[in-house]
Protein backbone atom coordinates (compact mmCIF):
# COMPACT_ATOMS: atom_id res chain seq x y z
CA UNK A 1 0.00 0.00 0.00
CA UNK A 2 2.62 2.50 1.00
CA UNK A 3 5.35 1.89 -1.57
CA UNK A 4 6.58 4.80 -3.67
CA UNK A 5 4.63 4.22 -6.89
CA UNK A 6 1.40 3.92 -4.96
CA UNK A 7 1.88 7.21 -3.18
CA UNK A 8 2.74 9.00 -6.42
CA UNK A 9 -0.34 7.66 -8.13
CA UNK A 10 -2.50 8.33 -5.10
CA UNK A 11 -2.97 12.02 -4.40
CA UNK A 12 -5.10 11.14 -1.37
CA UNK A 13 -2.47 9.35 0.70
CA UNK A 14 -3.55 11.36 3.72
CA UNK A 15 -6.89 9.58 3.86
CA UNK A 16 -5.23 6.20 3.46
CA UNK A 17 -2.93 6.83 6.40
CA UNK A 18 -5.93 8.09 8.34
CA UNK A 19 -7.53 4.73 7.70
CA UNK A 20 -4.36 2.90 8.69
CA UNK A 21 -4.15 4.90 11.88
CA UNK A 22 -7.73 3.96 12.68
CA UNK A 23 -6.99 0.28 12.07
CA UNK A 24 -3.85 0.28 14.20
CA UNK A 25 -5.50 1.90 17.20
CA UNK A 26 -8.95 0.51 16.64
CA UNK A 27 -9.73 -0.59 20.19
CA UNK A 28 -8.37 2.61 21.74
CA UNK A 29 -10.44 4.71 19.36
CA UNK A 30 -13.58 2.80 20.29
CA UNK A 31 -12.71 3.28 23.98
CA UNK A 32 -12.20 7.02 23.52
CA UNK A 33 -15.48 7.40 21.62
CA UNK A 34 -17.38 5.38 24.20
CA UNK A 35 -15.96 7.49 27.03
CA UNK A 36 -17.04 10.85 25.57
CA UNK A 37 -20.22 9.49 23.98
CA UNK A 38 -22.70 10.24 26.81
CA UNK A 39 -21.49 13.84 26.89
CA UNK A 40 -22.86 14.39 23.37
CA UNK A 41 -25.83 12.02 23.65
CA UNK A 42 -28.85 13.63 25.31
CA UNK A 43 -30.37 10.35 26.57
CA UNK A 44 -28.15 8.18 28.74
CA UNK A 45 -30.58 5.26 28.52
CA UNK A 46 -30.26 5.26 24.75
CA UNK A 47 -26.49 5.50 25.06
CA UNK A 48 -26.43 2.42 27.31
CA UNK A 49 -28.58 0.55 24.79
CA UNK A 50 -26.17 1.48 22.03
CA UNK A 51 -23.28 0.13 24.08
CA UNK A 52 -25.03 -3.16 24.77
CA UNK A 53 -26.31 -3.71 21.25
CA UNK A 54 -22.94 -2.63 19.89
CA UNK A 55 -21.31 -5.36 21.96
CA UNK A 56 -23.96 -7.85 20.85
CA UNK A 57 -23.31 -6.91 17.23
CA UNK A 58 -19.55 -7.14 17.82
CA UNK A 59 -19.98 -10.77 18.86
CA UNK A 60 -22.32 -11.45 15.95
CA UNK A 61 -19.96 -9.79 13.49
CA UNK A 62 -17.19 -12.21 14.45
CA UNK A 63 -19.28 -15.01 12.93
CA UNK A 64 -21.03 -13.08 10.16
CA UNK A 65 -18.33 -10.68 9.03
CA UNK A 66 -15.07 -12.43 9.83
CA UNK A 67 -16.02 -16.10 9.59
CA UNK A 68 -18.55 -15.57 6.81
CA UNK A 69 -21.41 -17.58 8.31
CA UNK A 70 -24.83 -15.96 8.54
CA UNK A 71 -26.40 -16.88 11.87
CA UNK A 72 -30.05 -16.18 12.50
CA UNK A 73 -29.92 -17.61 16.01
CA UNK A 74 -27.84 -15.14 17.97
CA UNK A 75 -30.84 -14.20 20.10
CA UNK A 76 -30.33 -17.54 21.84
CA UNK A 77 -26.79 -16.55 22.84
CA UNK A 78 -27.73 -13.02 23.89
CA UNK A 79 -30.84 -14.22 25.71
CA UNK A 80 -29.13 -17.09 27.51
CA UNK A 81 -26.52 -14.66 28.80
CA UNK A 82 -29.24 -12.35 30.07
CA UNK A 83 -31.28 -15.13 31.65
CA UNK A 84 -28.35 -16.83 33.36
CA UNK A 85 -27.14 -13.54 34.79
CA UNK A 86 -30.65 -12.77 36.00
CA UNK A 87 -31.28 -16.24 37.42
CA UNK A 88 -27.96 -16.14 39.28
CA UNK A 89 -29.01 -12.91 41.00
CA UNK A 90 -32.73 -13.57 41.54
CA UNK A 91 -32.70 -17.24 42.51
CA UNK A 92 -29.22 -17.77 43.91
CA UNK A 93 -28.35 -14.34 45.23
CA UNK A 94 -24.97 -14.27 43.52
CA UNK A 95 -22.96 -11.03 43.57
CA UNK A 96 -22.99 -8.97 40.36
CA UNK A 97 -19.56 -10.02 39.08
CA UNK A 98 -20.37 -13.72 39.49
CA UNK A 99 -23.68 -13.16 37.73
CA UNK A 100 -21.94 -11.52 34.77
CA UNK A 101 -19.53 -14.45 34.65
CA UNK A 102 -22.54 -16.78 34.66
CA UNK A 103 -23.99 -14.85 31.72
CA UNK A 104 -20.76 -15.14 29.74
CA UNK A 105 -20.53 -18.84 30.58
CA UNK A 106 -24.16 -19.27 29.49
CA UNK A 107 -23.43 -17.61 26.15
CA UNK A 108 -20.37 -19.79 25.60
CA UNK A 109 -22.21 -22.98 26.51
CA UNK A 110 -25.27 -22.21 24.40
CA UNK A 111 -23.01 -21.35 21.47
CA UNK A 112 -21.26 -24.68 21.92
CA UNK A 113 -24.56 -26.58 21.89
CA UNK A 114 -25.97 -24.73 18.88
CA UNK A 115 -22.61 -24.66 17.16
CA UNK A 116 -22.00 -28.41 17.37
CA UNK A 117 -25.28 -29.02 15.53
CA UNK A 118 -25.26 -26.08 13.13
CA UNK A 119 -21.62 -26.41 12.02
CA UNK A 120 -22.52 -29.81 10.59
CA UNK A 121 -24.44 -28.01 7.88
CA UNK A 122 -22.99 -25.77 5.25
CA UNK A 123 -23.70 -22.53 3.51
CA UNK A 124 -27.21 -21.25 3.64
CA UNK A 125 -28.38 -24.12 5.83
CA UNK A 126 -26.50 -22.49 8.70
CA UNK A 127 -28.92 -19.56 8.84
CA UNK A 128 -31.93 -21.86 8.89
CA UNK A 129 -30.59 -24.28 11.47
CA UNK A 130 -29.42 -21.56 13.86
CA UNK A 131 -32.79 -19.84 13.56
CA UNK A 132 -34.69 -23.08 14.24
CA UNK A 133 -32.49 -23.97 17.20
CA UNK A 134 -32.84 -20.52 18.73
CA UNK A 135 -36.61 -20.87 18.38
CA UNK A 136 -36.25 -24.12 20.32
CA UNK A 137 -34.32 -22.27 23.06
CA UNK A 138 -37.14 -19.71 23.14
CA UNK A 139 -39.72 -22.41 23.87
CA UNK A 140 -37.51 -24.07 26.48
CA UNK A 141 -37.04 -20.83 28.44
CA UNK A 142 -40.71 -20.00 27.92
CA UNK A 143 -41.75 -23.25 29.59
CA UNK A 144 -39.27 -23.21 32.47
CA UNK A 145 -41.58 -20.81 34.32
CA UNK A 146 -40.12 -21.51 37.77
CA UNK A 147 -36.70 -20.31 36.73
CA UNK A 148 -37.43 -17.78 34.01
CA UNK A 149 -40.88 -16.42 34.83
CA UNK A 150 -42.13 -17.67 31.46
CA UNK A 151 -44.25 -15.19 29.55
CA UNK A 152 -43.91 -12.45 32.19
CA UNK A 153 -40.16 -12.45 31.93
CA UNK A 154 -37.66 -12.67 34.75
CA UNK A 155 -38.25 -9.82 37.18
CA UNK A 156 -36.45 -8.43 40.17
CA UNK A 157 -32.84 -8.26 39.04
CA UNK A 158 -32.12 -5.38 41.39
CA UNK A 159 -28.52 -4.35 41.57
CA UNK A 160 -28.41 -1.04 43.40
CA UNK A 161 -24.78 -0.75 44.26
CA UNK A 162 -21.69 -2.32 42.88
CA UNK A 163 -19.01 -3.22 45.39
CA UNK A 164 -15.51 -3.08 44.02
CA UNK A 165 -12.48 -3.48 46.32
CA UNK A 166 -14.26 -1.78 49.19
CA UNK A 167 -15.72 0.94 46.97
CA UNK A 168 -19.50 1.18 46.82
CA UNK A 169 -20.59 2.46 43.43
CA UNK A 170 -24.14 3.70 42.96
CA UNK A 171 -25.53 1.68 40.01
CA UNK A 172 -28.82 3.61 40.00
CA UNK A 173 -27.23 6.84 38.79
CA UNK A 174 -27.60 6.67 34.98
CA UNK A 175 -24.21 8.23 34.24
CA UNK A 176 -22.33 5.93 36.59
CA UNK A 177 -24.28 2.98 35.25
CA UNK A 178 -23.19 3.97 31.76
CA UNK A 179 -19.53 4.01 32.72
CA UNK A 180 -19.72 0.71 34.60
CA UNK A 181 -21.21 -0.96 31.53
CA UNK A 182 -18.79 0.93 29.29
CA UNK A 183 -15.86 -0.58 31.20
CA UNK A 184 -17.00 -4.07 30.25
CA UNK A 185 -17.75 -3.11 26.66
CA UNK A 186 -14.36 -1.43 26.21
CA UNK A 187 -12.62 -4.48 27.70
CA UNK A 188 -14.54 -6.68 25.24
CA UNK A 189 -13.45 -4.51 22.31
CA UNK A 190 -9.81 -4.85 23.37
CA UNK A 191 -10.20 -8.63 23.63
CA UNK A 192 -11.85 -8.74 20.20
CA UNK A 193 -9.08 -6.64 18.70
CA UNK A 194 -6.53 -9.04 20.18
CA UNK A 195 -8.37 -12.09 18.83
CA UNK A 196 -8.56 -10.61 15.35
CA UNK A 197 -4.88 -9.62 15.39
CA UNK A 198 -3.79 -13.09 16.52
CA UNK A 199 -2.80 -15.88 14.13
CA UNK A 200 -6.14 -17.48 14.95
CA UNK A 201 -7.86 -14.33 13.70
CA UNK A 202 -6.03 -14.75 10.41
CA UNK A 203 -7.23 -18.36 10.19
CA UNK A 204 -10.82 -17.21 10.73
CA UNK A 205 -10.58 -14.90 7.75
CA UNK A 206 -8.75 -17.54 5.72
CA UNK A 207 -11.69 -19.91 6.24
CA UNK A 208 -14.07 -17.19 5.06
CA UNK A 209 -12.04 -16.32 1.99
CA UNK A 210 -11.23 -19.82 0.78
CA UNK A 211 -12.33 -22.83 2.74
CA UNK A 212 -10.66 -25.38 0.48
CA UNK A 213 -7.34 -23.59 0.60
CA UNK A 214 -7.50 -23.16 4.37
CA UNK A 215 -8.11 -26.88 4.68
CA UNK A 216 -5.28 -27.66 2.30
CA UNK A 217 -2.98 -25.48 4.40
CA UNK A 218 -3.64 -27.80 7.31
CA UNK A 219 -6.20 -25.86 9.30
CA UNK A 220 -9.15 -27.69 10.77
CA UNK A 221 -12.01 -25.71 9.24
CA UNK A 222 -14.75 -27.31 11.33
CA UNK A 223 -12.94 -26.65 14.61
CA UNK A 224 -12.13 -23.08 13.60
CA UNK A 225 -15.81 -22.45 12.86
CA UNK A 226 -16.94 -24.01 16.12
CA UNK A 227 -14.39 -22.13 18.22
CA UNK A 228 -15.27 -18.84 16.53
CA UNK A 229 -18.96 -19.43 17.09
CA UNK A 230 -18.32 -20.23 20.77
CA UNK A 231 -16.18 -17.09 21.18
CA UNK A 232 -18.98 -15.10 19.59
CA UNK A 233 -21.30 -16.64 22.16
CA UNK A 234 -19.10 -15.32 24.94
CA UNK A 235 -19.34 -11.74 23.67
CA UNK A 236 -23.08 -12.03 23.14
CA UNK A 237 -23.50 -13.63 26.56
CA UNK A 238 -21.68 -10.68 28.14
CA UNK A 239 -23.92 -8.28 26.23
CA UNK A 240 -26.97 -10.19 27.47
CA UNK A 241 -25.76 -10.14 31.07
CA UNK A 242 -25.22 -6.37 30.90
CA UNK A 243 -28.67 -5.99 29.36
CA UNK A 244 -30.19 -7.92 32.28
CA UNK A 245 -28.41 -5.68 34.80
CA UNK A 246 -29.39 -2.56 32.89
CA UNK A 247 -33.10 -3.38 32.45
CA UNK A 248 -33.45 -5.23 35.80
CA UNK A 249 -35.81 -7.60 34.02
CA UNK A 250 -35.31 -10.11 31.23
CA UNK A 251 -38.31 -10.09 28.88
CA UNK A 252 -38.98 -13.35 27.02
CA UNK A 253 -38.86 -11.37 23.76
CA UNK A 254 -35.08 -11.24 24.15
CA UNK A 255 -35.04 -14.79 22.77
CA UNK A 256 -37.48 -14.05 19.96
CA UNK A 257 -36.13 -14.37 16.45
CA UNK A 258 -36.62 -10.66 15.90
CA UNK A 259 -33.74 -10.14 18.34
CA UNK A 260 -31.64 -12.32 16.03
CA UNK A 261 -32.80 -10.33 13.04
CA UNK A 262 -32.06 -7.06 14.80
CA UNK A 263 -28.37 -7.84 15.15
CA UNK A 264 -28.18 -8.92 11.51
CA UNK A 265 -29.57 -5.51 10.54
CA UNK A 266 -27.20 -3.66 12.87
CA UNK A 267 -24.14 -5.51 11.59
CA UNK A 268 -25.08 -5.03 7.94
CA UNK A 269 -25.95 -1.39 8.46
CA UNK A 270 -22.66 -0.62 10.20
CA UNK A 271 -20.53 -2.69 7.88
CA UNK A 272 -19.98 -6.40 8.22
CA UNK A 273 -16.48 -7.65 8.78
CA UNK A 274 -15.25 -4.24 9.97
CA UNK A 275 -14.13 -3.46 13.48
CA UNK A 276 -16.09 -0.25 13.93
CA UNK A 277 -19.14 -1.42 11.99
CA UNK A 278 -21.08 -3.00 14.87
CA UNK A 279 -20.85 0.09 17.11
CA UNK A 280 -21.68 2.48 14.29
CA UNK A 281 -24.52 0.23 13.18
CA UNK A 282 -25.94 0.03 16.70
CA UNK A 283 -25.73 3.80 17.16
CA UNK A 284 -27.35 4.62 13.80
CA UNK A 285 -29.98 1.90 14.09
CA UNK A 286 -31.08 2.71 17.63
CA UNK A 287 -31.06 6.49 17.12
CA UNK A 288 -33.07 5.97 13.94
CA UNK A 289 -35.49 3.69 15.75
CA UNK A 290 -35.87 6.28 18.50
CA UNK A 291 -36.46 9.14 16.10
CA UNK A 292 -38.87 7.22 13.86
CA UNK A 293 -40.87 5.80 16.76
CA UNK A 294 -41.51 9.31 18.02
CA UNK A 295 -42.99 10.11 14.65
CA UNK A 296 -44.92 6.88 13.97
CA UNK A 297 -45.70 3.62 15.75
CA UNK A 298 -44.97 1.76 12.54
CA UNK A 299 -41.21 2.17 12.80
CA UNK A 300 -40.68 -1.41 11.61
CA UNK A 301 -41.93 -0.39 8.19
CA UNK A 302 -39.32 2.37 7.89
CA UNK A 303 -36.57 0.22 9.37
CA UNK A 304 -37.42 -2.68 7.06
CA UNK A 305 -37.44 -0.41 4.02
CA UNK A 306 -34.10 1.13 4.97
CA UNK A 307 -32.69 -2.35 5.45
CA UNK A 308 -33.90 -3.42 1.99
CA UNK A 309 -32.27 -0.32 0.51
CA UNK A 310 -29.04 -1.16 2.36
CA UNK A 311 -28.97 -4.69 0.97
CA UNK A 312 -29.65 -3.42 -2.53
CA UNK A 313 -27.42 -0.35 -2.65
CA UNK A 314 -24.97 -0.32 0.29
CA UNK A 315 -24.16 -3.94 1.09
CA UNK A 316 -20.84 -2.82 2.60
CA UNK A 317 -22.63 -0.78 5.25
CA UNK A 318 -21.76 2.68 6.56
CA UNK A 319 -18.19 2.00 7.67
CA UNK A 320 -17.50 -0.38 4.79
CA UNK A 321 -18.58 2.29 2.28
CA UNK A 322 -16.39 4.87 4.01
CA UNK A 323 -13.36 2.58 3.79
CA UNK A 324 -14.03 1.89 0.13
CA UNK A 325 -14.27 5.64 -0.54
CA UNK A 326 -11.04 6.44 1.26
CA UNK A 327 -9.17 3.71 -0.61
CA UNK A 328 -10.41 4.83 -4.01
Amino acid sequence: MTDATESIKEPRTATVSWYEFATRHRASIVAAVILVFPLVMPFTALAVNILIYGLYALGFNLVFGYLGLLSFGHAALFGTGAYLCGIAIVHFGWPWYAAIAAGVAGGLLMALLIGVLAIRTRGIYFAMVTMALSQCVYYLFYQAVDLTGGENGLRGINVRTIDLFGLRIDFINPMIRYYVIAAFVIAAFFVMSRILASPFGAVIEAVRENETRARASGYDVTKTRLLTFVLSGGFCGLAGALQALHLSIVPIEILHYETSGLVVMIALLGGMGTFFGPMIGAAVFLVLENVVSVWTVHWQLIVGAIFIACVLFFPAGIWGTLIARSRR
Binding site: V129, A132, I308
Partner: protein
Protein backbone atom coordinates in the same frame (compact mmCIF):
# COMPACT_ATOMS: atom_id res chain seq x y z
CA UNK B 1 -53.69 -43.68 30.55
CA UNK B 2 -56.99 -45.49 30.09
CA UNK B 3 -58.15 -42.88 27.59
CA UNK B 4 -55.31 -43.62 25.19
CA UNK B 5 -57.10 -46.09 23.00
CA UNK B 6 -56.01 -47.04 19.53
CA UNK B 7 -58.78 -44.88 18.07
CA UNK B 8 -57.58 -41.79 19.87
CA UNK B 9 -54.04 -42.32 18.59
CA UNK B 10 -55.34 -42.89 15.07
CA UNK B 11 -57.40 -39.69 15.25
CA UNK B 12 -54.41 -37.77 16.53
CA UNK B 13 -52.40 -39.21 13.66
CA UNK B 14 -54.94 -37.77 11.22
CA UNK B 15 -54.85 -34.42 12.98
CA UNK B 16 -51.07 -34.55 12.56
CA UNK B 17 -51.45 -35.19 8.84
CA UNK B 18 -53.73 -32.15 8.50
CA UNK B 19 -51.18 -29.99 10.32
CA UNK B 20 -48.44 -31.60 8.28
CA UNK B 21 -50.30 -30.76 5.06
CA UNK B 22 -49.89 -27.04 5.84
CA UNK B 23 -46.18 -27.58 6.51
CA UNK B 24 -45.89 -29.49 3.24
CA UNK B 25 -47.43 -26.68 1.20
CA UNK B 26 -45.32 -24.06 2.93
CA UNK B 27 -42.08 -26.02 2.66
CA UNK B 28 -42.67 -27.02 -0.95
CA UNK B 29 -42.78 -23.39 -2.03
CA UNK B 30 -39.66 -22.69 -0.01
CA UNK B 31 -37.92 -25.72 -1.49
CA UNK B 32 -39.00 -24.98 -5.05
CA UNK B 33 -37.66 -21.44 -4.82
CA UNK B 34 -34.43 -22.57 -3.21
CA UNK B 35 -33.93 -25.47 -5.60
CA UNK B 36 -34.19 -23.16 -8.60
CA UNK B 37 -32.99 -19.76 -7.50
CA UNK B 38 -30.83 -20.74 -4.49
CA UNK B 39 -32.75 -18.03 -2.64
CA UNK B 40 -33.86 -18.75 0.91
CA UNK B 41 -37.07 -16.79 1.02
CA UNK B 42 -37.27 -15.37 4.54
CA UNK B 43 -40.42 -13.53 3.51
CA UNK B 44 -42.18 -16.82 2.80
CA UNK B 45 -43.95 -16.59 6.14
CA UNK B 46 -45.06 -13.08 5.26
CA UNK B 47 -46.53 -14.27 1.93
CA UNK B 48 -48.35 -16.98 3.87
CA UNK B 49 -49.71 -14.40 6.31
CA UNK B 50 -50.74 -12.00 3.53
CA UNK B 51 -52.53 -14.91 1.84
CA UNK B 52 -54.69 -15.39 4.93
CA UNK B 53 -55.38 -11.64 5.17
CA UNK B 54 -56.30 -11.34 1.50
CA UNK B 55 -58.75 -14.19 2.05
CA UNK B 56 -60.17 -12.36 5.05
CA UNK B 57 -60.55 -9.19 3.01
CA UNK B 58 -62.16 -10.91 0.02
CA UNK B 59 -64.73 -12.57 2.29
CA UNK B 60 -65.46 -9.28 4.03
CA UNK B 61 -66.30 -7.62 0.71
CA UNK B 62 -68.73 -10.39 -0.18
CA UNK B 63 -66.62 -13.15 -1.64
CA UNK B 64 -66.81 -16.69 -0.37
CA UNK B 65 -64.20 -19.26 0.59
CA UNK B 66 -64.26 -21.00 -2.80
CA UNK B 67 -63.52 -17.79 -4.67
CA UNK B 68 -60.68 -17.18 -2.24
CA UNK B 69 -59.20 -20.60 -2.96
CA UNK B 70 -58.69 -19.44 -6.56
CA UNK B 71 -58.15 -15.72 -6.11
CA UNK B 72 -55.69 -15.77 -3.21
CA UNK B 73 -52.99 -17.86 -4.90
CA UNK B 74 -53.32 -15.75 -8.06
CA UNK B 75 -53.03 -12.43 -6.21
CA UNK B 76 -50.18 -13.58 -3.97
CA UNK B 77 -48.44 -15.14 -6.96
CA UNK B 78 -48.65 -11.86 -8.88
CA UNK B 79 -47.25 -10.05 -5.88
CA UNK B 80 -44.46 -12.63 -5.73
CA UNK B 81 -43.67 -11.99 -9.42
CA UNK B 82 -43.34 -8.28 -8.72
CA UNK B 83 -41.07 -8.90 -5.73
CA UNK B 84 -38.77 -11.16 -7.73
CA UNK B 85 -38.59 -8.79 -10.66
CA UNK B 86 -37.99 -5.60 -8.69
CA UNK B 87 -36.16 -6.63 -5.53
CA UNK B 88 -34.54 -10.03 -5.88
CA UNK B 89 -33.35 -9.99 -9.46
CA UNK B 90 -30.69 -7.28 -8.89
CA UNK B 91 -29.10 -9.54 -6.28
CA UNK B 92 -28.37 -12.60 -8.42
CA UNK B 93 -24.68 -13.33 -8.50
CA UNK B 94 -23.98 -11.27 -5.38
CA UNK B 95 -23.65 -14.11 -2.88
CA UNK B 96 -26.23 -16.37 -1.38
CA UNK B 97 -26.78 -14.31 1.79
CA UNK B 98 -28.07 -11.16 0.12
CA UNK B 99 -31.46 -12.38 -1.16
CA UNK B 100 -31.98 -13.93 2.26
CA UNK B 101 -31.27 -10.62 3.99
CA UNK B 102 -33.43 -8.72 1.55
CA UNK B 103 -36.42 -11.01 2.01
CA UNK B 104 -35.91 -10.75 5.75
CA UNK B 105 -36.25 -6.96 5.50
CA UNK B 106 -39.21 -7.42 3.18
CA UNK B 107 -40.99 -9.56 5.77
CA UNK B 108 -40.72 -6.66 8.24
CA UNK B 109 -42.30 -4.33 5.71
CA UNK B 110 -45.07 -6.75 4.79
CA UNK B 111 -45.97 -7.53 8.41
CA UNK B 112 -46.05 -3.83 9.28
CA UNK B 113 -48.18 -2.97 6.24
CA UNK B 114 -50.71 -5.61 7.29
CA UNK B 115 -50.68 -4.14 10.81
CA UNK B 116 -51.43 -0.73 9.35
CA UNK B 117 -54.24 -2.05 7.18
CA UNK B 118 -55.87 -4.53 9.57
CA UNK B 119 -54.63 -3.59 13.04
CA UNK B 120 -52.34 -5.41 15.41
CA UNK B 121 -54.86 -7.82 16.88
CA UNK B 122 -55.84 -11.05 15.19
CA UNK B 123 -59.14 -12.05 13.65
CA UNK B 124 -61.04 -15.33 13.77
CA UNK B 125 -61.58 -16.89 10.36
CA UNK B 126 -64.83 -18.81 9.93
CA UNK B 127 -64.73 -22.29 8.51
CA UNK B 128 -66.95 -22.30 5.41
CA UNK B 129 -70.38 -23.70 6.27
CA UNK B 130 -70.22 -26.72 4.00
CA UNK B 131 -67.03 -27.83 5.72
CA UNK B 132 -68.20 -27.41 9.30
CA UNK B 133 -68.92 -30.42 11.45
CA UNK B 134 -67.23 -33.77 11.68
CA UNK B 135 -67.32 -36.95 9.71
CA UNK B 136 -66.80 -40.55 10.77
CA UNK B 137 -63.57 -41.86 9.28
CA UNK B 138 -63.80 -45.36 10.79
CA UNK B 139 -61.81 -44.70 13.95
CA UNK B 140 -63.98 -41.83 15.20
CA UNK B 141 -65.31 -38.44 14.23
CA UNK B 142 -62.83 -36.12 12.54
CA UNK B 143 -63.37 -32.44 11.66
CA UNK B 144 -64.44 -32.21 8.04
CA UNK B 145 -62.35 -29.10 7.40
CA UNK B 146 -59.14 -30.88 8.34
CA UNK B 147 -59.96 -33.63 5.87
CA UNK B 148 -60.51 -30.92 3.29
CA UNK B 149 -57.06 -29.46 4.07
CA UNK B 150 -55.47 -32.87 3.48
CA UNK B 151 -57.45 -33.28 0.24
CA UNK B 152 -56.65 -29.78 -1.05
CA UNK B 153 -52.96 -30.33 -0.34
CA UNK B 154 -53.05 -33.60 -2.24
CA UNK B 155 -54.66 -31.83 -5.21
CA UNK B 156 -52.02 -29.09 -5.21
CA UNK B 157 -49.23 -31.66 -4.98
CA UNK B 158 -50.71 -33.68 -7.84
CA UNK B 159 -51.07 -30.58 -9.99
CA UNK B 160 -47.53 -29.50 -9.21
CA UNK B 161 -46.20 -32.97 -9.98
CA UNK B 162 -48.03 -33.08 -13.30
CA UNK B 163 -46.78 -29.60 -14.13
CA UNK B 164 -43.17 -30.41 -13.32
CA UNK B 165 -43.06 -33.91 -14.82
CA UNK B 166 -45.43 -33.79 -17.78
CA UNK B 167 -45.20 -30.31 -19.29
CA UNK B 168 -42.35 -28.96 -21.33
CA UNK B 169 -42.09 -25.94 -19.04
CA UNK B 170 -41.75 -28.31 -16.10
CA UNK B 171 -38.90 -29.99 -17.93
CA UNK B 172 -37.15 -26.64 -18.25
CA UNK B 173 -37.63 -26.01 -14.53
CA UNK B 174 -36.16 -29.38 -13.60
CA UNK B 175 -33.25 -28.86 -15.96
CA UNK B 176 -32.70 -25.37 -14.58
CA UNK B 177 -32.58 -26.72 -11.04
CA UNK B 178 -29.87 -29.14 -12.06
CA UNK B 179 -27.69 -26.85 -14.15
CA UNK B 180 -28.87 -23.33 -14.98
CA UNK B 181 -25.80 -22.56 -17.08
CA UNK B 182 -26.37 -25.37 -19.56
CA UNK B 183 -30.04 -24.46 -19.80
CA UNK B 184 -29.03 -20.90 -20.59
CA UNK B 185 -26.58 -22.11 -23.22
CA UNK B 186 -29.42 -24.08 -24.82
CA UNK B 187 -31.22 -20.80 -25.41
CA UNK B 188 -33.72 -20.75 -22.56
CA UNK B 189 -34.38 -17.45 -20.82
CA UNK B 190 -33.53 -18.67 -17.32
CA UNK B 191 -34.42 -15.43 -15.59
CA UNK B 192 -37.99 -15.79 -16.87
CA UNK B 193 -38.11 -19.33 -15.50
CA UNK B 194 -36.86 -18.09 -12.13
CA UNK B 195 -39.47 -15.36 -12.12
CA UNK B 196 -42.25 -17.86 -12.70
CA UNK B 197 -40.92 -20.32 -10.12
CA UNK B 198 -40.83 -17.55 -7.51
CA UNK B 199 -44.41 -16.70 -8.43
CA UNK B 200 -45.54 -20.33 -8.09
CA UNK B 201 -43.75 -20.75 -4.76
CA UNK B 202 -45.29 -17.64 -3.23
CA UNK B 203 -48.72 -18.51 -4.68
CA UNK B 204 -48.56 -21.84 -2.84
CA UNK B 205 -47.51 -20.00 0.33
CA UNK B 206 -50.57 -17.75 0.05
CA UNK B 207 -52.77 -20.78 -0.54
CA UNK B 208 -51.31 -22.47 2.57
CA UNK B 209 -52.00 -19.34 4.62
CA UNK B 210 -55.60 -19.32 3.47
CA UNK B 211 -56.02 -23.02 4.32
CA UNK B 212 -54.45 -22.51 7.75
CA UNK B 213 -56.60 -19.47 8.58
CA UNK B 214 -59.76 -21.34 9.73
CA UNK B 215 -57.59 -23.66 11.85
CA UNK B 216 -55.77 -20.99 13.85
CA UNK B 217 -57.20 -17.57 12.98
CA UNK B 218 -55.14 -14.80 11.42
CA UNK B 219 -52.62 -12.51 13.13
CA UNK B 220 -49.82 -10.46 11.54
CA UNK B 221 -47.18 -12.62 13.28
CA UNK B 222 -48.51 -15.96 12.03
CA UNK B 223 -45.79 -16.23 9.39
CA UNK B 224 -42.82 -16.01 11.74
CA UNK B 225 -43.63 -19.14 13.71
CA UNK B 226 -44.28 -21.33 10.71
CA UNK B 227 -41.12 -20.08 9.01
CA UNK B 228 -38.91 -21.52 11.75
CA UNK B 229 -40.88 -24.76 11.68
CA UNK B 230 -40.69 -24.95 7.89
CA UNK B 231 -36.92 -24.60 8.14
CA UNK B 232 -37.01 -27.72 10.27
CA UNK B 233 -39.04 -29.40 7.54
CA UNK B 234 -36.59 -28.42 4.82
CA UNK B 235 -33.58 -29.46 6.90
CA UNK B 236 -35.16 -32.81 7.71
CA UNK B 237 -36.40 -33.42 4.17
CA UNK B 238 -33.38 -32.07 2.37
CA UNK B 239 -33.25 -28.60 0.88
CA UNK B 240 -34.46 -28.29 -2.67
CA UNK B 241 -36.12 -31.71 -2.67
CA UNK B 242 -39.87 -31.72 -3.20
CA UNK B 243 -40.32 -35.35 -2.19
CA UNK B 244 -38.33 -34.63 0.94
CA UNK B 245 -40.52 -31.63 1.76
CA UNK B 246 -43.67 -33.75 1.47
CA UNK B 247 -42.38 -36.59 3.61
CA UNK B 248 -40.74 -34.36 6.23
CA UNK B 249 -43.74 -32.00 6.37
CA UNK B 250 -46.11 -34.86 7.18
CA UNK B 251 -43.61 -36.34 9.62
CA UNK B 252 -43.21 -33.03 11.46
CA UNK B 253 -47.00 -32.61 11.62
CA UNK B 254 -47.43 -36.09 13.09
CA UNK B 255 -44.58 -35.59 15.57
CA UNK B 256 -46.11 -32.33 16.82
CA UNK B 257 -49.54 -33.88 17.08
CA UNK B 258 -48.31 -37.03 18.85
CA UNK B 259 -46.19 -35.16 21.38
CA UNK B 260 -49.11 -32.85 22.14
CA UNK B 261 -51.07 -35.99 23.01
CA UNK B 262 -48.44 -37.61 25.23
CA UNK B 263 -46.39 -34.67 26.49
CA UNK B 264 -48.14 -31.39 25.61
CA UNK B 265 -45.45 -29.17 27.11
CA UNK B 266 -42.87 -30.72 24.78
CA UNK B 267 -44.92 -30.29 21.57
CA UNK B 268 -43.12 -27.16 20.38
CA UNK B 269 -39.68 -28.45 21.28
CA UNK B 270 -40.13 -31.92 19.81
CA UNK B 271 -39.72 -30.90 16.17
CA UNK B 272 -36.44 -29.17 16.95
CA UNK B 273 -35.28 -32.34 18.69
CA UNK B 274 -36.22 -34.19 15.51
CA UNK B 275 -34.11 -31.75 13.51
CA UNK B 276 -31.18 -32.18 15.88
CA UNK B 277 -31.31 -35.95 15.45
CA UNK B 278 -31.45 -35.67 11.66
CA UNK B 279 -28.53 -33.22 11.68
CA UNK B 280 -26.41 -35.64 13.67
CA UNK B 281 -27.33 -38.74 11.70
CA UNK B 282 -27.77 -37.35 8.20
CA UNK B 283 -26.80 -33.67 7.90
CA UNK B 284 -28.03 -33.31 4.31
CA UNK B 285 -31.56 -34.48 5.24
CA UNK B 286 -33.56 -37.42 3.89
CA UNK B 287 -33.37 -36.55 0.22
CA UNK B 288 -30.80 -33.79 0.16
CA UNK B 289 -28.01 -33.93 -2.37
CA UNK B 290 -24.72 -33.81 -0.53
CA UNK B 291 -22.98 -31.24 -2.71
CA UNK B 292 -25.85 -28.79 -3.20
CA UNK B 293 -24.89 -26.46 -0.37
CA UNK B 294 -21.22 -25.96 -1.11
Amino acid sequence: MAGLSFDLIALQLFAGLALGAIYVLFAIGLSLIFGMLTVVNFAHGAFYMVGAYVGLYLISIGGNFWICLVAVPILIGLFGLAVERVLIRPLYGRGIDYPLLLTFGLSYVMVECVRIAFGKTGYPFDTPEVLQGAVNIGVGYFPLYRLFVIGATAVVLLALWLFLEKTSFGLIIRAGARDPQIVRVLGVDVSRVWLIVFGIGTAIAGFAGLLAAPLQGVIPEMGGTILAEAFVVTVVGGMGSIGGAVLAGLLVGVVVSMTSLFAPEMAKVSIFALMAIVLIVRPQGFFGRAGLMS
